[in-house]
């Protein structure tokens, strides 16, 4: 008897929720803002779906209606990826400067 692959994905999903639970509780409260900006950046991995959609057009017709939505999603996700990681980096950099200063 075969197990539906959905069950495997569901297992990954549920185990990841548990991992998330324990990992996030260990985040220090002073870094809660960077936590939000970095989770925001990584959730933009949805760009994977956007790329699949964008590349689905035929060579004669790059912009059919479904790939247009893909391209739009790419732009949105890319804003988030670059914006999210860079702003997180900028914030974390501020937590560093002071430490070096003190030494």
């Amino acid at each position: 008897m075969e197990i539906d692959p959905f069950i495997f994905r569901l297992s990954i999903f549920i185990l990841s929720i548990f991992i998330g639970y324990y990992v996030v509780w260990s985040v220090t409260p002073s870094l809660h803002t960077p936590l939000m900006s970095v989770t925001n950046a990584i959730s933009s991995v949805i760009i994977v779906g956007a790329i699949i959609a964008a590349l689905s057009g035929s060579s004669g017709n790059v912009f059919d209606i479904s790939s247009i939505f893909g391209f739009l999603a790419i732009v949105l996700a890319a804003i988030n990826i670059f914006g999210g990681f860079l702003v997180t980096q900028r914030m974390l950099q501020m937590y560093k400067k002071k430490k070096d200063k003190k030494k």
Partner: protein, 467 residues
């Protein structure tokens, strides 16, 4: 190009890198490394996607162009945004994730073959359910975040907008979403799909408008959580483990943050969502206190004198500090105090500001060392042994009423024991009550000196008087 199995393994790797990215945030020292893990995970995920499709036609060139356009916009925003605008930036970013999820779901619905989900009009049932959930949650995240953004930006009033039958309407629309998903599964009709998305947009708006400004920390965390669930929904549709893992991580992260924020306000999640904090008792309470009790007020000179003669000072920042952009002036003041061998620490309430960790970031921006900044439970006992508490822009989180008056709407909320200090300096523009709409008893205490002024201006004046 590369097999589905191999790409699945790479997606798993990028999922693990994302876990490490969050793990890094457990301390400021490891946090930057964590961020690099996150970036690496993202790069792997994107490259693997290109390779697994193996379509190197003109489309790919466009993909890269659009990627660069979006990336440039994102980078521009990231470098230009002032730290005080972080809450609205995060809200804005959440809306983009939500909208991207909606677009991907639409693309998958219009062209299921590209995703291996079946054919138009004959999409696999499970995929259809997954993509409708992804689209619905994404749409709610999008419109909800837009409202949160407008409120935080001040374009829309931060006051709660409520009307009769609001909760009933939301309930009906919520049920409507489920009915539409059910109907969609039977009919595969695109009109039903559009209706589903439209109603979800509407729910997002209606869900956030009744929530007021100071409840924003909960709202932002909640939308953070939603954006994760939307990504996970799409992840199930695309059978992509990187997305499923990330969605689950982000979803639980946002949920935990919402929980922490609710707890810090001693309110249930449901009551925040239902909105209109203190809307009923606010008017009543302010009237009750109309018999003006005497208030001692002072100027910058008095404040400087008090602090100069203190041996320890605790600073309590709040949203007012962010509004007045007073963090740099504050840091200057603290530097002067430290030169006089006065011990200075910072006390941060979890819901100070408009998002989790908001005050910490502002202080970090002003170069305040993070080991001088303490959370509520770590510092609350120190107030009794300190000479001066300098409250700048905070209000409700210092109100002793939360401990003494069971009738007060904020009763039971953990507050900073500011009144236990020998003297309290309270920088505020007027005696008006804070967000919760209740009077702060602290104003009338004998050991409180009110400094009526803009936070930044007052701090600058104190700095001058410290010389």
């Amino acid at each position: 190009m590369i097999s589905a199995d191999l790409s699945a393994i790479f997606y798993l790797v990028s999922g693990i890198l994302f876990i490490l990215a969050l793990r890094g945030l457990s301390s400021p020292d490891t946090s930057r490394q964590g961020n690099y893990f996150g970036i690496a995970g993202m790069i792997i995920a994107i490259i693997v996607t290109f390779l697994s499709i193996g379509n190197f036609s003109t489309s790919l060139a466009y993909v890269i162009i659009f990627l660069i356009i979006g990336g440039a916009i994102g980078a521009f925003i990231a470098f230009r945004i002032p730290m005080t605008a972080m809450p609205e930036l995060v809200a804005g970013f959440h809306s983009l994730v939500g909208l991207a999820a909606v677009f991907v779901a639409i693309a998958a619905f219009l062209n299921p073959e590209a995703f291996g989900l079946g054919y138009i009009g004959d999409i696999k049932l499970a995929s259809l359910i997954e993509m409708s959930i992804g689209a619905a949650v994404g749409a709610i995240t999008f419109s909800g975040s837009i409202i949160a953004f407008l409120k935080l930006r001040g374009i829309m009033s931060g006051a709660p907008i409520t009307f009769g039958g609001q909760h009933f309407l939301n309930l009906m629309l919520g049920i409507g979403i489920f009915i539409l998903i059910f109907y969609l599964c039977n009919s595969q009709s695109s009109n039903v799909f559009w209706a589903l998305i439209f109603i979800s947009f509407l729910v997002g708006v209606l869900l956030i408008i009744p929530i007021g400004g100071a409840d924003m920390p909960v709202v932002i965390s909640m939308l953070n959580s939603y954006s994760g669930w939307a990504a996970a929904g799409i992840g199930f549709t695309l059978e992509n483990s990187a997305l499923i893992i990330t969605g689950a991580l982000v979803g639980s992260s946002g949920a935990i943050l919402s929980y922490i924020m609710c707890k810090a306000m001693n309110r249930s999640f449901i009551s925040v969502i239902l909105g209109g904090f203190g809307a009923d008792n606010a008017a009543e309470n302010t009237k009750e206190k109309q018999d003006q009790k005497p208030v001692k007020s002072g100027n910058a000179e008095d404040a400087a004198f008090l602090m100069k003669n203190a041996s320890s000072v605790i600073i309590v920042p709040g949203y007012g500090m962010a509004v007045a952009q007073a963090q740099h002036a504050l840091r200057e003041m603290v530097d002067k105090l430290k030169k006089n061998d006065i011990k200075v620490t910072y006390a941060i309430h979890p819901v100070a500001g408009r998002m989790p960790g908001h005050m910490n970031v502002l202080l970090a921006e002003a170069n305040v060392p993070y080991d001088e900044v303490f959370e509520l439970e770590d510092i609350n006992n120190d107030f009794a042994n300190s000479d001066v508490a300098f409250v700048i822009g905070a209000n409700d989180v210092t109100n002793p009423v939360a401990k003494t008056d069971p009738k007060s709407p904020i009763f039971g909320m953990p507050v900073l024991d500011v009144e236990k200090c020998k003297s309290v300096l309270f920088v505020k523009r007027s005696l008006s009550p804070g967000y919760a709409g209740i009077d702060n008893e602290l104003f009338y205490k004998d050991n409180t000196l009110m400094l009526f002024a803009d936070a930044k201006k007052m701090t600058e004046d104190i700095v001058k008087n410290l010389d």
